[in-house]
């Protein structure tokens, strides 16, 4: 655990980072006010899932891809089906697009509620966990669990379950809910507006720790909506590229202290995730979400990474409203049974890109004769690790006078703000079969 050796020198060696997804190890050493070491070591066991994708029939790829991560399995599944569909020339129906988007909103809601309430909020209430928080503020935790249940049910109704969705397939859905079931969801989503409003009130009153470090951000951009599935890659420094040029936009590299690779763009490093999306796409937010941003004091110029949580609250409002609109449309039109759209060819190359809860997620497959011949994935957390370390390097000297315990607390909160998903970061590793 943390120890102070002299007044100026701080040595933090935190092996057991809690309330994050996966195993991280934080190491900070300063000497006479200078940083000698500042690293988030990723110590998770590698699983080589990307290697396992190679040699699989394309229809199986989304199911295996889903197993990369328990929190964002709808995101991996969706990126995977889009990669296959683009490779094999499959155009899905508007109904399929709506249903996928609805499941996706369910995942964003679920993940953001988990992060904001169960992982981050205990810090603001001085509690070690949401379980302890439930003892002090039962209504806060009850509300979180109620909203989380609805988000999970949204995914379950559409895809069978949230973690590792079943019916989302290449070319469409293997199973459809009844229109009446979607109508039932619609009622519950409308009721949930009160919980989302209470969430906004709760987080509006919290003061996020200060940190000001302007950085480059990347997010998907669409002209017709706040992008979560498909679009172009847009950069806050200007520039917009089709997704199949992702490899020229981001460049991954191995760092010695981490089993998760880091990424860089023009400026090194850059950020992805809720705050990046907000900065790039704020003009495409639902009016209520724009109002939420104003209430939280969040502007597109925001440069404090602790505000990632605030951006997630804005996205909660947006995704709830969009989910209500989508459910209403599905109920009005009624759900039609559709066969899966079959591929027009058996070989090809495709890039599927989505905005997972933690940021831009790329699945890139080469398919040869219906078998995945080569696979590459770019994971949000890998893209954020270098930016997180740059934030820590700027923050540590500023907060050194506060003492090791407070430095540790602020750094843990910073790591948590990024909502790192270390399972994803290590379990999908760039593999290049030359």
């Amino acid at each position: 655990m943390a120890t102070v050796e002299t007044r100026q020198d701080v040595h933090i060696d935190l092996h057991y980072l809690t309330r994050i997804e996966g195993h991280g190890h934080l190491r900070i050493d300063t000497r006479r006010g200078d940083i000698e070491r500042c690293e988030l070591n990723v110590v998770e066991a590698p699983r080589f899932l990307e290697a396992m994708l190679v040699g699989r029939p394309h229809a199986q790829a989304p199911h295996l891809a889903s197993r990369i991560c328990g929190i964002c399995s709808v995101s991996h599944t969706t990126a995977s089906v889009r990669a296959v569909e683009k490779a094999l020339g499959i155009e899905v129906s508007p109904q399929t697009e709506d249903l996928r988007k609805l499941a996706f909103y369910g995942e964003i809601l679920d993940s953001h509620i988990l992060h904001a309430y169960l992982l981050v909020a205990p810090d603001f209430f001085g509690q070690p966990s949401a379980i302890a928080l439930a003892g002090e503020q039962p209504e806060v935790v009850t509300r979180a669990l109620r909203m989380k249940r609805l988000a999970g049910d949204l995914c379950a109704v559409l895809a069978g379950r949230h973690t590792h969705p079943i019916s989302i397939a290449v070319g469409g859905f293997r199973h459809l809910p009844t229109t009446a079931t979607v109508a039932g969801l619609l009622d519950r989503l409308v009721e949930a507006r009160a919980d989302v409003a209470a969430t906004l009130d709760l987080f509006r009153d919290l003061s996020f720790p200060p940190l000001n470090r302007e950085t480059e951000v990347l997010a998907l951009r669409r002209d017709d909506e706040y992008a979560f599935i498909d679009g172009d890659i847009a950069c806050s420094d200007g520039g917009r590229w089709p997704v199949d040029r992702y490899a020229g936009v981001v460049e991954e590299h191995v760092v010695s202290h981490s089993t998760a690779k880091h990424s860089r763009h023009a400026r090194n490093p850059y950020m992805v995730g809720a705050l990046a999306r907000f900065k790039i796409n704020h003009d495409r937010l639902h009016p209520k979400a724009k109002g939420a941003a104003a209430a939280l004091g969040l502007t597109p110029e925001a440069s404090n990474p602790y505000l990632i949580t605030a951006a997630q609250i804005v996205e909660l409002v947006h995704c709830l409203e969009e989910a209500i609109t989508l459910c209403q449309r599905l109920v009005d039109r009624g759900l039609r049974r559709e066969s899966l759209v079959m591929p027009s060819h058996r070989s090809g190359e495709g890039v599927g890109v989505v905005e997972a809860p933690r940021g831009m997620l790329v699945h890139h497959y080469q398919i040869e004769n219906a078998i995945v011949g080569r696979a590459n994935c770019i994971i949000p957390t890998n893209q954020n690790l270098a930016n997180l370390e740059a934030d820590m390097r700027q923050l540590v000297p500023q907060i050194l006078p506060l003492g090791t315990d407070e430095v540790t607390r602020r750094l843990e909160m910073l790591v948590r703000a990024y909502d790192p998903c270390i399972s994803c970061a290590t379990h999908v590793l760039d593999i290049d079969y030359a």
Partner: protein
């Protein structure tokens, strides 16, 4: 919350190579069964809480063992816990991690990380039962919420949870699903242990055997059925490898 603190069984959660989806399912089960927190005292759950207690009677372990350092951690858990429960397919049968079963881990590592990866510790993905004795299993990828709660109830009553010894087909028939194999889809229901309520076939997708083999699974007979329905293809072989690579290899020995 609180009350009866002294008398409540102390429970800890541990994770190894996995997606942590099973622990998330545990968190999700609190939405439906908030009284779980009244019944047990959770002393360690890194994903959800900062406290860390080492005095526990029941250990739930998610993930497969892949590194020599994992073995030491598992042995320590076994030494402390009265009951060790494997949580999910990775801990139970190696999960999708065992998809690389039989491939050289050093070769994989070099392909993934290049020369920079030589210092990274890795190894073959194994079920935790290959390292320590396991008292009970909550199978699946991910685990079933209700089955987890039933398992906890059993342990609270001093009994070990038992798994059904019927195949998934049994539950699929009870749900009056049409047989997917007859509709030309690969489905591993005939050789897979039931208990999930045939969830995947109900959602139009062939069983992936995430719960492992049913006792006395007849692999040869399933291959015959696949052949009769024109399904003896790369797709059916890939399906058999997704979760069963390790179990089928053991069965053949």
């Amino acid at each position: 919350m609180g009350g009866h603190k002294a008398s409540r069984p102390r429970v800890a959660f541990f994770d190894f190579a996995s997606c942590e989806g099973c622990q998330l399912t545990v968190v999700d089960s609190l939405q439906r069964y908030p009284d779980l927190l009244e019944a047990v005292e959770i002393v360690q759950f890194r994903e959800a809480m900062s406290e860390r207690g080492e005095d526990y009677q029941v250990a739930f372990v998610e993930g497969s063992c892949t590194r020599p350092s994992d073995e030491a951690r598992l042995l320590a858990v076994r030494k402390q816990a009265k009951y060790v429960v494997a949580l999910g397919a990775c801990a139970h049968i190696g999960g999708v991690n065992a998809g690389c079963h039989g491939k050289d881990p050093d070769e994989l590592r070099r392909r993934v990380y290049g020369p920079a990866g030589d210092s990274i510790e890795t190894g073959e993905a194994r079920p935790i039962g290959s390292v320590i004795d396991v008292d009970a299993v909550i199978p699946g990828c991910p685990i079933d919420r209700d089955e987890f709660i039933r398992g906890v109830r059993c342990l609270l009553q001093g009994r070990l949870p038992r798994l059904p010894d019927t195949p998934v087909c049994y539950e699929c028939k009870l749900r009056e699903n049409e047989c997917l194999i007859r509709h030309g889809q690969v489905c591993l229901g005939p050789i897979t242990r039931a208990g999930c309520g045939a969830l995947c076939p109900t959602y139009g997708t062939g069983c992936e055997a995430c719960r492992g083999l049913v006792p006395d699974a007849n692999q040869a007979s399933l291959r015959t059925i696949f052949a009769e329905h024109g399904l003896a293809t790369e797709a059916s072989e890939a399906a058999l490898e997704l979760f069963l690579r390790r179990e089928l290899a053991v069965q053949e020995v």
